[in-house]
């Protein structure tokens, strides 16, 4: 497991109260999300952070969506 903790650009689908990351760009490369392994959230005071474990086939990544800043981060590469 590698801690990355860096802001990234994410394309996500917001549908019926659910958020599904579809792709993300990290270090100039676009990764297509093939599946969401797991989802959980954490409250930090008044802020909520949504976590997604996603797979792009070979690798698994942990993405985080920070509300209310509406920013995404690549938290970890899961190996």
């Amino acid at each position: 497991m590698e801690h990355i903790d860096t802001p990234i650009k994410v394309g996500a689908i917001f549908e019926r109260g659910k958020i599904s990351p579809a792709w993300f760009i990290w270090e100039g490369r676009k990764y297509t999300v093939k599946g969401i392994n797991y989802f959980w959230k954490r409250k930090e005071g008044q802020n909520t952070i949504y976590f997604f474990s996603v797979t792009e086939g070979e690798n698994n990544f942990e993405l985080a969506f920070y509300i209310p800043h509406l920013t995404w981060k690549l938290e970890k590469i899961l190996s």
């Binding site: 497991m1 392994n37 797991y38 959980w40 959230k41 954490r42 409250k43 930090e44 005071g45 008044q46 976590f51 474990s53 797979t55 698994n60 942990e62 899961l78 190996s79």
Partner: protein, 403 residues
């Protein structure tokens, strides 16, 4: 064949290697390697949960990292993240509430359901619950169904991985007769050892044949009678919590430690943390209370609960000071027997509002309000007492049981 409605049945849902299974669902690659969840790779780190690959090597919960690594040199240690587990536990709780309002959350990964149904209906429901959990969280569980909590719990031991077992009183102890007494709910290693040494009782079948007089003579009235009841397949605990809106009677937090704690200052730090949690909830919900209760558990049946009337309390430090006085009375005894495994603090006899008696408390109340505001904005224990910073227990105590 069993037909018709039973007066009631209890179902226990026990999540299989809960923390480890959540980590595997997050990172499916972990399924093929032995790993354990703990606080890190330091010598003091303890295994909080191990996956099935690690269990094959004999790695067990409560083992030190060093000990576990000796058994399984390829063991990977993963730092636990309570947010994930609590979130998942809450999701599971919602799933159970979909099926019945009679849910008792026994621990972060164990839940009892109280059912008014036939055995066939209960089995059907268990299958549905398993399917729902698998579909929404990709996790497995073992389900035990019995006439009471004790039988339901023991039923899960008969088929540990993804199991579904019904254990009726009429089948007890037959189905369990050859199992070690240690496998019985409520009987720990020390009691099992005593049973073996003093009474030559090794199995549940042998224990079932023991008279109450014999057990009372060796274990005292409380423990002896309790062991006797358990050995007869009778109820050990009542169903204590239903999901319904009621007036709050007490506010408490408790915590089961991963292993026996022998250091006084560590137990006190847990007491302080729990007291702060209780105080924060009292203030949040607008209560104060004047009955303070401390519960402590040690080895096996060594469980104490002491309470006393105090002035009205709602701040963590006053609760802690009172709790400290109470727990000291039992410390020597617990220490002699190996230490503390369970700590609980609660405040009852609640009143809405605040009952301040001293000016200094009013000053303290203003400070408390300011701290609460900061913690509301930036997260629980953003501001905390320095003794908690040093002991670094905040992360580990995430497993608190909220009543």
């Amino acid at each position: 064949m069993e037909t018709g409605k039973d007066p009631f049945l209890i179902m226990l849902i026990d999540m299989n290697s809960f923390f480890a299974s959540v980590e595997e669902a997050i990172n499916p690659r972990l399924k093929s390697i032995p790993f354990a969840i703990g606080g890190g790779k330091s010598k003091k780190s303890v295994v909080a949960a191990a996956n099935y690959q690690a269990k094959k090597y004999g790695v067990k919960n409560g083992m030190s990292y060093v000990e576990a690594k000796k058994l399984c040199p390829t063991l990977k240690m993963i730092e636990g993240d309570m947010d994930k587990y609590i979130y998942t536990s809450d999701k599971l709780y919602k799933i159970f509430l979909y099926f019945t309002p009679f849910v008792e959350r026994y621990s972060i990964d164990e839940v009892f359901l109280h059912l008014e149904s036939s055995v066939q209906e209960a089995v059907k429901l268990a299958k549905k619950i398993k399917e729902r959990i698998k579909k929404s969280l990709n996790l497995t569980c073992s389900i035990g169904i019995g006439d009471n909590k004790s039988l339901a719990k023991m039923a899960t031991k008969l088929q540990k991985l993804d199991g579904l077992v019904v254990l009726r009183k009429k089948d007890f102890p037959e189905k369990l007769k050859d199992l070690s007494t240690e496998e019985m709910w409520g009987i720990g290693a020390r009691t099992a050892q005593k049973l073996k040494e003093k009474l030559s009782v090794k199995t549940i079948g042998q224990l079932n044949k023991c008279t109450m007089e014999k057990l009372v003579a060796y274990f005292g009235t409380f423990a002896g009678e309790r062991i006797f009841k358990l050995a007869q397949g009778e109820e050990s605990e009542s169903f204590s919590s239903l999901h319904k809106e009621t007036d709050v009677k007490s506010i408490g937090h408790s915590y089961t430690l991963p292993h026996l704690i022998i250091k006084e200052e560590i137990v006190e730090a847990y007491l302080l943390f729990l007291s702060e949690q209780v105080g924060r909830r009292l203030r949040k919900e607008g209560y104060c209370g004047n009955i303070l209760r401390v519960a402590l558990g040690g080895n096996d049946f060594d469980y104490f609960s002491i309470q006393r009337k105090t002035r009205y309390l709602r701040d963590g430090i006053s609760i802690f000071k009172g709790a400290k006085r109470l727990w000291k009375k039992k410390w020597d005894n617990l220490k002699r027997k190996g230490g503390v495994r369970f700590v609980g603090v609660s405040v009852s006899n609640l009143l809405k509002g605040n009952q301040l008696s001293l000016w200094s408390e009013e000053k303290n109340e203003n400070l408390q309000k300011a701290i609460d505001k900061i913690n509301d904005s930036f997260g629980e224990f953003f501001i905390k007492r320095s003794s908690l910073v040093d002991l670094d227990i905040v992360e580990k105590i995430g497993m608190i049981h909220v009543r």
